[in-house]
């Protein structure tokens, strides 16, 4: 019986972590689906967002959940501006240039954070950091439960935006048919930047949800982005539903393999999946044709 409880608790923890992974993967897969590039600055942007939460809390005494309403528009704006006024002009419409520019950006962000915060690992203290919700024999960390549901809400809102609004439809249109979009009056550069901004906004929310239970250092984003990349491949490049399902699967796999093979081997399950997917289903679970 005890064994089953431990299993259940690992499963629940995996799902909760997985939802945040999914949120991080959402931005990556959205940018890939529309601009057809991997944003190498994704991890560094997440790190920057986590430091922003850290600063907001330690300097301005702003609760991380309250910070969502400030950091989401801020990171949307930053993502928009960086794509429109740096990445786009610097890449001259050449995809491989975009890759290099985002790679360069990630190095700049990471080193700026290193210079500003040193390589120390930091965390924040919130009163509810260790509070738990009890369901039967299951003890769930309250911030993680919040993160789980919030991630779904964000994914749902993103889906609504893409399905229902003119901007969302324009994003989907530009993803597949740039010329047709331009001839319908859609400003393609603007839509690219909006997409990038949405990716960054997802990261800001993820950072706010993570910080109550997590720590931050200038390299933390890399660990997440590797996992996020696996999720994007597993779910299918460019697929929103794929990112969500993939995130949950990866979260559970990580948690269960941590339980059965030991904490340090938890990540092995993830990369095993990564390789298996690439071998047997390279388009991923929800993958569309290239």
């Amino acid at each position: 019986m005890l064994k089953f409880d431990i299993f259940l608790s690992a499963l629940a923890n995996g799902l909760m972590t997985g939802a945040v992974y999914a949120l991080i993967a959402l931005g990556l897969t959205l940018v890939y689906g529309v601009l057809h590039i991997i944003n190498f600055a994704h991890g560094a942007t997440l790190t920057a967002a986590m430091f922003a939460v850290f600063v907001a809390h330690s300097v301005f005494k702003i609760d991380p959940y309250l910070a969502i309403v400030m950091l989401t528009p801020l990171f949307f704006g930053l993502g928009y501006a960086v794509q429109r006024f740096v990445i786009n002009p610097a890449s001259h419409g050449n995809d491989s240039n975009i890759l290099l520019v985002t790679l360069g950006l990630s190095i700049i962000i990471e080193n700026a954070l290193l210079a500003g915060f040193r390589s120390d690992t930091r965390s924040i203290d919130v009163p509810y950091g260790f509070s738990v919700i009890e369901i039967g024999n299951l003890f769930l960390s309250t911030p993680k439960v919040v993160a789980f549901f919030a991630s779904f809400v964000v994914a749902g809102l993103l889906w609504l935006l893409l399905a229902r609004t003119d901007t969302g439809k324009a994003i989907r249109a530009v993803a597949r048919e740039k010329t047709g979009a331009a001839l319908s009056g859609i400003n393609v550069d603007h839509i690219y930047a909006v997409t990038f901004g949405l990716g960054a906004a997802c990261l800001a929310i993820a950072a706010c949800l993570l910080m109550p239970t997590f720590l931050v250092n200038p390299r933390i984003g890399n660990a997440f982005v590797l996992v996020a990349f696996t999720i994007v491949v597993l779910g299918g490049m460019g697929s929103i539903a794929g990112a969500l399902v993939g995130g949950l699967i990866i979260g559970v796999v990580e948690s269960l393999s941590g339980l059965y093979f030991g904490e340090s081997l938890g990540q092995i399950g993830i990369f095993l999946i990564f390789i298996l997917v690439l071998l047997f289903r390279p388009t991923g679970l929800f993958g569309a044709k290239a």
Binding site: D166, K169, A170, R172, A173, A175, R176, E177, T179, G180, A181, A182, L183, S184, G185, I186, N187, A288
Partner: protein
């Protein structure tokens, strides 16, 4: 309404259009004819802001538009239904049409949707279907319908009959004449010389990036040079 003067444009510094001039008056159907590769599509791209012009002038309602972006030209009411349709394959018929009014005609979206469905009843039967799964003829209807959603004042159609069966070509030309009858100016870019001249009031014939013949459709129909070049007679 549309004035193109001494237009030079091309790709990567190589001129394709070499000093081309054409006019379209309000409410008029003008055919622009020419064989493969003479620069018809390049002309459309230059007019609609997809490529930059090298020299010459393009005016719409007297205002220069050659420096404007494609969305700004759409906003002015000059709509280009491109060769190859360029519809959004991953989106439904309805969404494709809705996006036609992304920049212009948004307030009348619902009414215009009804109007487009009135012209193309086949699209109404397929509102939820992904555009990529439509037949070629239906895709062409969708492309034109999407253009109409922007309440065009001038619509440029690049080879709307391309790839359609002879019967459907007839139907397409009949529909275009019906659309034009509502007072809309149409620049019909075609290789289908005979049917285009039936429909158009005037026509231009392009060769090698320049106008080689121009005049009323009736005169051109009887022009032996045109007959010789395009009909092998």
């Amino acid at each position: 309404m549309l004035e193109v003067r001494d237009l030079v444009a091309g790709y990567g510094g190589v001129p394709i259009l070499r000093g081309l001039s054409i006019d379209v008056q309000p409410g008029e159907i003008v055919a622009v004819l020419g064989a493969n590769g003479v620069g018809k599509t390049t002309l459309n791209r230059a007019i609609s802001g997809l490529i930059r012009t090298t020299s010459g002038a393009i005016r719409f309602d007297g205002a220069p538009i050659s420096g404007l972006s494609a969305p700004d030209i759409v906003a002015a009411g000059l709509i280009h239904v491109p060769e190859g349709r360029k519809i959004f394959p991953n989106m439904s018929v309805r969404e494709n049409l809705e996006l036609g009014s992304y920049r212009r005609g948004r307030v009348n979206r619902a009414a215009n949707l009804e109007r487009v469905f009135g012209i193309f009843p086949r699209l109404r039967e397929r509102t939820g279907q992904f555009a990529g799964t439509l037949s070629g003829g239906e895709q062409q209807m969708l492309a034109i319908g999407r253009g109409l959603m922007a309440e065009p004042r001038l619509i440029i159609m690049d080879e709307p009959s391309l790839g359609l069966s002879p019967l459907l070509v007839e139907e397409m030309f009949a529909l275009i004449s019906r659309i034009a009858a509502e007072g809309l100016a149409v620049m019909l870019v075609e290789q289908n010389v005979v049917q285009s001249l039936e429909l158009a009031a005037r026509a231009y014939v392009l060769e090698n990036g320049a106008v080689v013949m121009a005049g009323s459709a009736d005169d051109l129909k009887r022009d032996p040079r045109l007959m010789k070049t395009y009909l092998g007679m």
